[in-house]
Symmetry: C2
Subunit: 290 residues, 2 copies
């Protein structure tokens, strides 16, 4: 795919702005739109052009990428009167990289397909650091030919880039990722609080358990922060709750019961209800350590 | 500690026999006792002497190590009329390496201390492979001086050897390990079954999620076995249920609620009730994948 093509990028938050910068570094021409214009200042300064509306951005882009907050935002920017689907050029590629609903991704795909557009769902993992370093994991759903066409573009912002299947498969893969994390976070918290109540030094316990069968990314990276009472995000509690809600809804539609995920969602919701939604996911420890 | 000293080893099952062999390789003199004599054939052939009773073994050993099945077995071999505490020589070291109850470990310590014996609880992780390679993780509780005295011995069967605190601390650390694993296993199973029901190829999903924030030992090592329907143990469901039961009892005594552990125990119990107690822990997937 021609690196001189025009990319329109919607959503220049923590993740989006780093992705935009990496795309520009790779030689792509970027225009941007985001709800709060000041959040685009940094990328505009770095060379991106500002567009006054999604419609304007859509009309002038060969590839449109969205990286916004919630499924409702995705719905609005795709299906609104001023939105992507009504205003994109024929044959344009539209890629939602937001972690969002698989069902919504299928809907976008169907509508796009009917309008001669190429739609992919391609959520990411790897967080702000991955976005900055261009080392995101990208999980893609849609038509495989479209995925292949955009693979060079994806490789400028990500490293582990895998085609997972038809529309919605990227989102379903991201849900599998979040489901795995959810129960593990509960286990990590419970182990740390157990160790503490048993009179052990939880840091010394980590020396024994981190590199064996109990080992995980969360145990290595988040348990030490729990013990230091460092609850800065990382990954926001409120966003994790959003993701778990999508996964639960999706599981319900598939008639699958996920009791571990249900429990994790309930515990995180309790944490958010206590006013801690803007902390990092490791703050779950606060619920147990009272 | 003198490598010409006599070690009495009780319990030559899968783990015990490898530990005995590694101790002999390091130059220690070993005598053994186990409930079913045929299970000691291999180590007797390799040079260990058979003792006809625990009492006989205890009376002739400088260090007594036990590696048996359940807390009830530990209770019996330590507190029985023919048991370790009544028959060990003064100043002997007695080390329970069974994964067992922290409360029982404290009781053994107290009784031992009153009889001029040195008691340690030192459960392990690392499984049959770790036992064979002498690379076990050893988590020790008891008096630190006693731990230091036995450190050279431990280093012939283990690699990550950590003193965790007073009597019971080794067992509490092992419980922290099992608590971490318990909820993670639930999450790994749920993610795999979600992926499958969503029509994804779960193996391809693993390519996307194994090396990121969802990553864990269980996801890397057990999820692929789940997907292959390879439920051979590894670590037995029935033993994991034992460990979770100990952890829950211990948590109750400390007045700590661990909902993730409770859920995992309930699910594994359901699996055992269905007749799958002799499968490996990855068999939890069977509950979800119906």
């Amino acid at each position: 795919m021609d690196s001189e093509m025009n990319i329109g990028f919607i959503g220049t938050g923590v993740m989006g702005k780093s992705m935009v910068k990496n795309l520009m570094k790779a030689g792509y021409t970027l225009s941007v739109f985001t709800r709060t214009k000041s959040k685009a200042d940094e990328v505009i300064q770095a060379g991106a052009s500002w567009k006054n509306s999604i419609a304007e951005l859509a009309r002038t882009s060969d590839v449109i990428i969205s990286m916004v907050g919630f499924p409702e935002d995705v719905k609005e920017i795709y299906f609104g009167e001023d939105g992507i689907l009504k205003n994109a050029r024929k044959n344009a590629y539209i890629v939602d990289m937001t972690t969002s609903s698989p069902i919504l991704a299928e809907k976008i795909y169907k509508k796009a397909h009917a309008s001669g557009l190429h739609a992919l769902d391609a959520p990411v993992s790897g967080g702000d650091v991955g976005a900055e370093n261009g080392s995101l994991t990208i999980m893609a759903g849609g038509d495989e030919a479209d995925f292949k066409k955009l693979a060079p573009l994806f490789s400028t912002i990500g490293e582990n880039i895998v085609y997972q299947g038809p529309a919605g498969s990227g989102q379903h893969t991201k849900m599998s990722n979040q489901i795995t994390i959810a129960s593990n976070m509960v286990g990590v918290c419970e182990a740390m609080v157990y160790a503490k109540k048993a009179g052990l030094n939880p840091e010394t316990v980590l020396e024994s358990i981190t590199n064996g069968a109990a080992g995980s990314w969360s145990l290595s990276n988040l348990a030490p922060r729990m013990l230091q009472h460092d609850f800065a995000p990382g990954f926001y509690v409120k966003h994790f709750i959003k993701d778990m809600g999508i996964a639960l809804e999706s599981a319900k539609q598939m008639d699958v019961t996920l009791p571990g995920l249900e429990l994790a969602e309930r515990l995180y919701q309790k944490l958010a209800d206590a006013g801690e939604g803007n902390k990092g996911t490791q703050a779950l420890y606060m619920l147990f350590d009272d």
